[in-house]
């Protein structure tokens, strides 16, 4: 803390290099992020509120938005539970194959989502998949149904909670947990009373990132959902569909809604976040 403050103090001295750097970064961010996103907003209101009203009155779009929220929330819940579990496993325990598991966890980030979609179809596809026909005969359809969309979303957002929680766990070490054990707390009590409050903010960031990623997933979902109007079409697929069908106003309005949810999540977290870093 003290060091950081001294560090900033030194850099706060105005100098030409600092101004140039600031200008470059600002221009870069405006051209790359702020301006394009702002234009989406502007185009959404290009015809006043008509487009927004239009999509909100369209039952198929409302269904798509609902589906997207359901899928995203389910995927985030699953990823949070497994993410925290896998993080604890990676940081607190040693086992053969740990490095392999660690590397495997980055696959969803490095592989194109459309490949993820194809891979899932190969395994869970209803007719020719490896496991799909078995599930289907048991009355459980994965591909071209909600479970498949959730599965694809979980897959692509899998590492986000883990990558936030692992560094926090490593930094705090396990002494507090050992102290709790020596004071009589069992494994569950130690986790709930000590570990979870300690990694709370890491989990929250992971959840927000996962939520944003899950709301916006397109490629993998497009392959596994079948894109059936009013059934398995999610919000991102609606945007594409409307855009391709020259309903640009509707596409921008839907895109704006997706953006707003993600931005809102980030704002809520930065407001809730304690001022002092741990």
């Amino acid at each position: 803390m003290a060091d950081r403050r001294t560090g900033t103090a030194v850099h706060n001295r105005p100098g030409p290099a600092r101004h140039v750097l600031r200008l470059v970064v600002t221009v870069y961010l405006v051209l790359l992020v702020a301006w394009p996103v702002a234009l989406v907003g502007r185009n959404a209101f290009g015809n006043g509120l008509t487009d927004l009203e239009g999509i909100l009155n369209d039952p198929d779009v409302v269904h798509a938005l609902r589906l997207t929220v359901t899928v995203a929330v389910t995927a985030v819940l699953i990823n949070t539970v497994f993410g925290v579990g896998i993080s604890l496993l990676l940081v607190r325990y040693d086992f053969p194959g740990k490095r392999l598991l660690n590397a495997l966890l980055d696959v969803p980030l490095s592989v194109s989502p459309i490949v993820v979609g194809l891979a899932l179809v190969l395994v869970y596809g209803g007719r020719s998949g490896w496991f799909g026909p078995t599930l289907e005969s048991a009355g459980f359809q994965v591909i071209f149904a909600t479970p498949g969309i959730v599965l694809a979303t979980v897959f692509v957002a899998l590492p986000l909670v883990i990558r936030e929680v692992v560094p926090v766990l490593q930094e705090v070490g396990d002494e507090q947990e050992q102290a709790a054990r020596s004071l009589g707390a069992g494994a569950v009590q130690t986790f709930l009373r000590i570990t979870l409050p300690t990694i709370k903010w890491g989990v929250v960031y992971g959840v927000v990132l996962s939520l944003a990623r899950s709301l916006g997933e397109f490629g993998a979902v497009k392959v596994v959902s079948g894109n059936v109007l009013g059934q398995t079409r999610t919000a991102t697929l609606v945007v594409e569909e409307k855009y391709l069908n020259f309903d640009k106003g509707g596409a921008y309005a839907t895109a704006l809604l997706l953006t707003l949810v993600a931005v809102a999540a980030i704002i809520v977290v930065s407001v809730l976040r304690p001022k002092e870093p741990r």
Binding site: V172, Q176, A179, R181, L183, G184, R193, T198, K200
Partner: protein, 331 residues
């Protein structure tokens, strides 16, 4: 006997941390596990607490076989070098933690926590977070937290190691007084021989995974079992083939008669450290260090170059050790 450790061994990969260690730690006393870093003393403490498991051997706490008990079932209090404070909980909640886990009634928790905060002089800090305390205060909080559950034994792992020298000294005197009040069986790990000699009733010297000697501070200092203990517990110098404490060497001005116990030499160096004067005498190809008080030194009028004779004070022969030839060659 409060803690019985029988034939405990522990390896980390190829490193032998403990090699068939057996020791009995008496009830109600303050025992120090003393030794150099990496000697196995912390590992032994963590095995007693159940934070580490022994590869073989038995641990018994107050007659109860604890070898396979998890830490939360051993009823030990553990204090860590770096405090292990629960950072998201106030001082009050930290101390109350063990009692809340045990689901004690609220009124009992309140009175017990208040009593303990008073004992460690932290009453006015009850609502602060650990990050708002100094290192010494955090460690006192950790001690109160460990004592709150009325542990059978209190285990402290280098409790003052992370504190600066002055706070360290204050806290170890305070620990001694606290123990005289509370009387809980206490084991603490330290690599600081002065700390062990000052605070402990009994010292267990551990080196390279083995126990070198067990005894009271006086026994260890005056009658060390071997030259490792002798060297580790205080300054030594070599006279003939004996190791001896520099303050147990007598020095006299002038050449002596042919006495085999005496060595004649010349003063080659005089260093003053506060009240203590260190005189180096070179004779028979050997440098002997003698420490004198300021008054003794002035009375003798020693100068560099003065011819003197030195001998081991006759009453302290028990406090010398024959030099281990193997170790001598190694150094």
């Amino acid at each position: 006997m409060s803690i019985e450790i029988a034939n405990v061994s522990k390896r980390f990969g190829n490193f032998v941390a403990l090699d068939d260690v057996s020791v009995s730690i008496p009830s109600g006393r303050l025992t120090a596990l003393l030794g150099p870093s990496g000697g196995g003393k912390s590992t032994l403490l963590r095995i007693i607490a159940g934070l580490e498991s022994a590869d073989s051997g038995r641990v018994e706490i107050e007659g109860l076989d604890a070898t396979n008990l998890p830490p939360q079932r051993r009823n030990v209090g553990f204090v860590f070098q770096h405090y292990a404070a629960f950072k998201h909980l106030s001082v009050w909640r930290n101390v109350a933690f063990g009692l809340e886990i045990r689901r004690r009634p609220k009124a009992e928790i309140r009175s017990r926590v208040e009593e303990l905060l008073a004992l460690v002089h932290l009453e006015q800090f009850a609502d602060r977070l650990p990050s708002q305390l100094s290192g010494g205060q955090r460690q006192r909080m950790a001690l109160a937290r460990a004592l709150a559950v009325q542990p059978t034994v209190l285990l402290l792992d280098e409790p003052f190691g992370a504190l600066d020298a002055k706070v360290r000294k204050e806290l170890r005197e305070w620990l001694r007084r606290l123990h005289d009040e509370v009387h809980v069986t206490t084991v603490f790990v330290t690599h600081d021989q002065e700390e062990a000699l000052e605070v402990a009733d009994e010292i267990v010297v551990i080196n390279e995974g083995r126990i070198e000697q067990i005894g009271s501070p006086d026994e260890l200092y005056d009658r060390p079992a071997n030259d490792f203990v002798m060297r580790f517990l205080g300054p030594v110098t070599q006279l003939g083939d004996r190791l001896v404490r520099p303050h147990d060497v007598q020095i006299q001005v002038g050449e002596g008669k042919e006495d085999p116990a005496e060595v004649t030499g010349r003063v080659t160096r005089v260093t003053r450290v506060g009240f203590e004067i260190r005189v180096e005498v070179t004779g028979n190809d050997q440098v002997v260090t003698v420490t004198l008080t300021r008054n003794e030194f002035l009375a003798m009028d020693l100068q560099v170059g003065t011819t003197v004779r030195v001998r081991i004070a006759p009453e302290v022969h028990a406090g010398t050790v024959a030099v281990d030839q193997a170790q001598l060659l190694a150094t």
